[in-house]
């Protein structure tokens, strides 16, 4: 029983990381129709920048972690906003070119990160509490899982509140449903595009710093690794659906954990099978818009 609890809670924690990446991907696709392959780069950059900031205070202190999370989020947001303004906006309404640019940026940025920080993973130092476990329903849960769950829940709450209660949130929700109609209302959606990129980049940057705490290392490739599962989560949840991304993050991560333990490390395979199943049975995803 305790093993099952452990797998479930760590699965939800891993789902939190997936959600931090997938939330931005889903919003960007929903509003702009762009599959952003460079999203993992925002995560990696946020992780390196966050750790650099944390080092100034002490990587193994709470102050260092807090500073790292803030700097990671700000760096991710800034990188995403610059990407949207400099590379995506000039290709407005040219979706294929936009996607190709993000693919190119993803490849180039990993090479850049390797050039700056080297290709090998670097171990990070964590606060003592994050190196320990806490007993929960008889299982010893790594504290990083709780941190991930808390952060993902907070980000979900903040994004939902932003979308529901702010003027731009209303524009973004409307744009996800019908971008052309928002334009027809006389609203310049390009500002909303930049905003969505920045919000997604912030969540990814935050996820990058949190991933370093769970993985105990930082690497130029960590963004790409998480991005694959975030894409799967986004598709399963329904492109453009934030609640869908949240639900799918947990489903995918828990399934992955269970399959890895009970089915001889077949977690990744099972997740891809689930993706295929969803695409066959419900192509719009769990909570996405059905095709007309």
């Amino acid at each position: 029983m305790s093993t099952l609890i452990l797998l479930l809670v760590t699965g939800v924690g891993l789902g939190g990381l997936y959600f931090l990446v997938a939330s931005g991907l889903s919003l960007i696709y929903g509003l702009m129709g762009i599959l952003n392959f460079a999203h993992g780069s925002f995560l990696t950059l946020g992780a390196f920048a966050g750790l650099a900031a944390a080092s100034a205070v002490g990587q193994d202190t709470w102050g260092g972690l807090a500073l790292g999370l803030v700097v990671g989020a700000v760096t991710g947001a800034a990188a995403a906003a610059v990407t949207e303004l400099g590379l995506i906006r000039p290709l407005y309404e040219r979706h294929i070119e936009q996607v190709l640019v993000t693919v190119g940026l993803a490849l180039a940025s990993v090479a850049l990160f390797e050039g700056i920080w080297g290709p090998n993973p670097r171990t990070v130092r964590r606060t003592e509490w994050l190196t320990r476990t806490t007993e929960f329903l008889g299982a010893r849960i790594p504290n990083t899982a709780f941190l991930n769950i808390l952060a993902a829940a907070l980000v979900l709450g903040v994004i939902v509140a932003f979308l529901k209660y702010t003027r731009y949130g209303l524009i973004i929700r409307a744009g996800v449903e019908n971008r052309a109609m928002v334009t027809a209302l006389g609203i310049d959606v390009r500002t909303a595009f930049t905003l969505v990129f920045a919000v997604g980049g912030a969540a990814a940057g935050l996820g990058g710093v949190l991933a370093t705490q769970s993985l105990n290392y930082v690497s130029p490739h960590m963004g790409a690794s998480l991005l694959i599962f975030a894409f799967i989560v986004t598709v399963i949840g329904g492109m453009g659906s934030l609640p869908g991304a949240a639900v799918a993050s947990v489903v995918v991560a828990v399934l992955q954990q269970l399959a890895n333990y009970f089915l001889a490390n077949t977690g990744d395979f099972i997740v891809v099978l689930l993706l295929a199943l969803v695409l066959l049975v419900r192509p719009s995803g769990l909570m996405g818009r059905r095709a007309a």
Binding site: R167, L170, V182
Partner: protein, 283 residues
């Protein structure tokens, strides 16, 4: 070139030089040489891949006038609306709003200077509530949407105005319902409330009665009549002839991408060319 509002506009079989309109009807409507038309198209045309979709359409609509646009399917009515609203760029001619050339102006910018339109298919945001659909337009017009972290309140000016527009179209009792859950007739009313909220002075209605049950038609006719009574200029594509004839000051007849005639409903209905077009002899 085009005639004046109140004059008979015919392609290929009359001088179209701007004969004075019937006394007391439309000749002094502000577009007939005494003022600037609210909406004018000059020699408007669209050719795609050698295929002529719309050809040399001239039309002037006076402020406060309601012009019905009729014609068989494929006649170019919606294409005309798409060119006027900026969804498609014309390959020939001009579109002018209050005398300003907006032919190269983007859809959003045309909307900001007072041109609003509905579509044949629903153009709402189905997951947003009814009041949110309208509020989106009021907050745009009031400029508040530029404030990224501005939190709208239930009783702020944009929300209050949104509710007022819902009262106008008779939907205020459904404010919090998701737009997608409305009946077809109520969706049409909501689209019109959005147009009103945009502050559109020129309103293009593309088949507003399409798909409506018989019982819903009078209510929507009343809403459109109120729009006209408020001084807005209206162009309306519609297949319900009784609705068009009951509401329109003038009726424009499209056929094979051309404007056959634009005149008062009585004269249009008596016109042989129109009758022939509807019977198919011109096809």
């Amino acid at each position: 070139m085009g005639g004046e509002p109140g004059t008979t506009l015919r392609r290929g079989r009359q001088d179209a030089a701007g004969l004075p309109g019937p006394a007391g009807e439309m000749s002094d409507d502000g577009a007939g040489g005494l003022g600037t038309p609210a909406l004018e198209v000059r020699g408007l045309g669209l050719t795609i891949g050698g295929a002529r979709i719309l050809a040399d359409v001239d039309l002037r609509v006076a402020p406060g006038e309601l012009v019905g646009v009729i014609g068989p399917n494929g006649a170019g009515k919606t294409t005309l609306f798409n060119l006027i609203s900026g969804i498609h760029r014309p390959t020939a001619g001009q579109v002018l709003l209050d005398g300003d050339d907006v032919t190269r102006t983007a859809v959003a910018a045309r909307s900001r200077v007072g041109l609003g339109r509905t579509f044949q298919t629903s153009s709402l945001f189905p997951r947003l509530s009814v009041v949110e659909n309208v509020r989106l337009a009021t907050q745009r017009r009031r400029g508040g949407s530029l404030s990224v972290l501005s939190f709208p309140r239930r009783g702020d000016a944009a929300s209050t105005e949104a509710v007022e527009h819902l009262v106008t179209v008779g939907l205020v009792h459904r404010s919090e319902v998701a737009a997608g859950d409305l009946s077809h007739g109520d969706k049409r009313k909501l689209e019109i409330a959005v147009l009103l909220a945009m502050g559109s002075s020129v309103v293009l209605l593309d088949e507003p009665m399409a798909g409506l049950g018989t019982a819903d038609v009078p209510g929507l006719v009343r809403v459109i009549r109120d729009i006209k009574a408020s001084g807005r200029t209206v162009m309306m594509v519609e297949h319900h002839m009784d609705v068009v004839l009951g509401l329109a000051d003038r009726v424009a007849v499209m056929h094979h991408g051309e404007l056959l005639i634009c005149d008062t409903p009585d004269k249009v209905m008596a016109d042989e060319t129109v009758q022939t077009a509807y019977l198919g002899d011109l096809a």
